[in-house]
């Protein structure tokens, strides 16, 4: 079943890619193949392989995963999704809060989500790690990390 879904998704992707390539503007500077020729070849090849995968998926659809295995996979996928959401949250928070507070918050959130109890040690680790990362990137590597809204507020 997994192969069938994968192959259908890839077929869709190949189709969208082909249509987008076909809509590319033609340039006078282009060679015989053109900017769109090679991508079109790739999309046709991808579609072909997806078709083979679809056939393979149909032939092996009787192979079923056990209920406990499905439950395990579901649990792992849920945890991965939440980790991903935490990461997206960080990307939204960092331009607002600034690098150091966002990093502290990221460490705190990930650790709590992964089962670490909320404690003074955890808060201290978050604060110290955030300060260390900020010092390392801004002062040692000379990388201007996002400052957040604070400079505007102070002004």
């Amino acid at each position: 079943m997994r192969d069938i879904v994968t192959s259908l998704l890839i077929m869709g992707l190949a189709g969208v890619y082909y249509i987008t390539a076909d809509a590319l503007p033609r340039s006078f500077l282009s060679d015989e193949i053109g900017a769109e020729g090679y991508p079109k070849l790739l999309s046709i090849a991808l579609f072909g392989f997806a078709c083979i995968l679809l056939v393979q998926g149909f032939l092996s659809r009787h192979i079923k995963t056990s209920a406990s295995q499905k439950q395990k996979e579901k649990h792992a996928a849920q945890k991965a999704a939440i980790m991903l959401l935490i990461g997206i949250g960080y990307l939204i928070a960092v331009p607002i809060l600034g690098y150091a507070p966002a990093v502290g918050l990221l460490i705190f959130t990930v650790a709590v989500f992964q089962g670490e109890p909320v404690s003074r040690k955890l808060v201290l680790t978050g604060v110290l790690s955030a300060c260390s990362f900020w010092l390392f990137f801004v002062y040692v590597l000379d990388i201007p990390m996002p400052a957040g809204i604070w400079p505007n507020l102070i002004r």
Binding site: S30, Y38, F49, L53, V110, F113, E116
Partner: protein, 506 residues
């Protein structure tokens, strides 16, 4: 200037020695963490090499690889959890030795035989790369297109289970490489009016996402790592042991590591398992294998350290990476605008010879740092997993942000990570995709250049003898892999049918 003097200049006028030492230490600590493979340790540090001199950056990455291969054996021996895939073979006898109270001896054998393997691998690398680079001078655009195709076909056909599942990621990788300005006409392709995409998606972003972020997502759903005993000391093997009982195991490790390193797609894991099997076959103490044999530790550790050097042969000669770690190293070269092949030797000898010297230095440092970092490694393994995952997340975001001082790159890394996670779920191997992204430019430009030269005649790829030979080899690999899969299926179904017939018989 001779190669030796170039190497000396690099080592004495740049922070190359520091990079080698730091890389080894980083690699050992990264490799010691279960789930953090050498390629992930390298991917985590890759963005930080952006501001470095190319030769220093490449030495740092190669040193991380060397350190990680040894680091992976620490949890394999102490907690029966391999830190890297290639350490899985070391686990079999290493952990048994630990249970018998000989954990220090097992770690000592791993360190010394790994060093022997590393030095042997460098000698093979220096000898073969120069020779292969001269061969690469004969290459014309059709041959370059064909070698790109060969690299992709070999990696795709070596993907486990299904040939199709190897080719789909490879094509997806080639598709990602088409994002950005067209190399011939300058037309923007698949950029969706985003300025950030005009220069294309950098292979590093894809590598970090597919290897590191997807692993982080997988690790978040797995139980915590077991704890290790913190009082442990490395006991180095005696010379009589090294040149006596362990001699054959090391020779086997060196030979197999050489072949597997050069062969794209095989890598350290395959090398260490084959070496283990061969060491058992040739051993005078076969009965000890699986019950704490020192040769069972020496052979795989020697082999996977040979691979750390020999895997660079196809990378430096043709720009074809054979493993995840080699792909990251190639990404490091590309990050600094360096294209592997004969031109690299002619235009940037300091990078190539500096790398050779850096590899020697890194192996020397491994002996010292490997000895002294055992306690910190055990401490790190015993840290609560939530903290380790959180720090890795911060490193990923901060490192990718520092590439272009923009949040677009970390966001793109997250997207690549999700793609990598879904690919694992669907049983698709991410390495062909990385290779597709890395080789995409070479494949497309040489494909189009060949057709321009031949006035659109596709037979140019068969008319050029080198191109025809390389494409034939690619075809052989595909057919061979197909035959192997069919044979495995036949073998799997055959006995089952036979046994069912036997049980149904009165």
């Amino acid at each position: 200037m001779s190669g030796l003097s170039v190497a000396w200049t690099v080592m004495t006028t740049t922070p190359a020695l520091f990079a080698a030492a730091f890389g080894v230490a980083w690699g050992i600590l990264g490799g010691a963490l279960p789930g953090i493979s050498p390629s992930i340790s390298m991917a985590l540090i890759l963005p930080f090499t952006y501001g470095m001199k190319p030769e220093v950056a490449i030495i740092l990455l190669a040193a991380v690889y060397i350190g990680a291969e040894y680091g992976g054996s620490i949890p394999a021996i102490l907690i029966s959890t391999p830190g890297t895939n290639s350490a899985a073979a070391t686990l079999i006898d290493g952990y048994q030795m630990y249970r018998q109270g000989k954990g220090g001896e097992a770690l000592g054998i791993s360190l010394i035989t790994g060093w022997v393997g590393g030095i042997f691998g460098i000698m093979v690398l220096v000898f073969l790369t120069g020779w292969l680079t001269e061969v690469a001078l004969l290459f014309k655009p059709p041959a370059y297109f064909a070698i790109g195709l060969l690299g992709l076909s070999v990696i795709a056909s070596l993907s486990e289970g299904s040939l199709v599942k190897g080719f789909i990621p490879a094509i997806l990788g080639l598709m990602i490489a088409t994002i950005g300005a067209d190399p011939v006409s300058g037309v923007n392709r698949f950029t969706f009016n985003r300025i950030e995409l005009i220069n294309g998606i950098h292979p590093i972003i894809v590598m970090i996402g597919l290897f590191a972020v997807s692993e982080l997502l997988v690790q978040s759903g797995l139980p915590p790592w077991p704890k290790s005993e913190s009082r442990m000391r490395i006991v180095l093997p005696s010379l009589s042991m090294l040149f006596g009982r362990l001699r054959m195991a090391q020779i086997i490790g060196c030979i197999i590591g050489t072949f597997e390193g050069i062969m794209p797609g095989a890598g350290g894991t395959v090398a260490s398992f084959i070496s283990y099997n061969e060491a058992r076959r040739w051993s005078k103490h076969k009965e000890e294998f699986g019950h704490g044999s020192p040769e069972g530790v020496a052979a795989p550790e020697c082999a996977n350290n040979v691979v750390t050097a020999t895997t660079l042969i196809p990378v430096l000669s043709f720009g074809i990476p054979g493993s995840n770690s080699a792909a990251i190293l190639l990404g490091g070269l590309l990050l600094h605008g360096l294209r592997p092949g004969p031109a690299l030797f002619q235009n940037n000898p300091h990078v190539v010879y500096g790398l050779y010297a850096g590899l020697v230095a890194a192996n020397m440092f491994m002996l010292i740092i490997g000895y002294v970092t055992l306690r910190p490694s055990i401490w790190l393994v015993n840290r609560p997993k939530p903290y380790v995952l959180a720090i890795i997340y911060v490193l990923l975001f901060s490192g990718t942000y520092s590439l272009d001082h923009s949040l677009f790159e970390p966001a793109l890394v997250m997207v690549a990570g999700v793609v990598g996670y879904l690919m694992r779920y669907a049983g698709l191997n991410p390495l062909p995709m990385v290779l597709g992204v890395v080789l995409g430019f070479m494949v497309e430009t040489n494909f189009r250049r060949s057709l321009v030269l031949s006035m659109g005649d596709y037979s140019v790829f068969w008319a050029d003898p080198l191109s025809a030979s390389l494409m034939s080899v690619a075809l052989l690999f595909i057919l061979g892999s197909l035959g192997h899969i069919l044979w495995k299926k036949y073998r799997a179904n055959g006995p089952a049918k036979v046994s069912s017939q036997e049980t149904s018989a009165p």
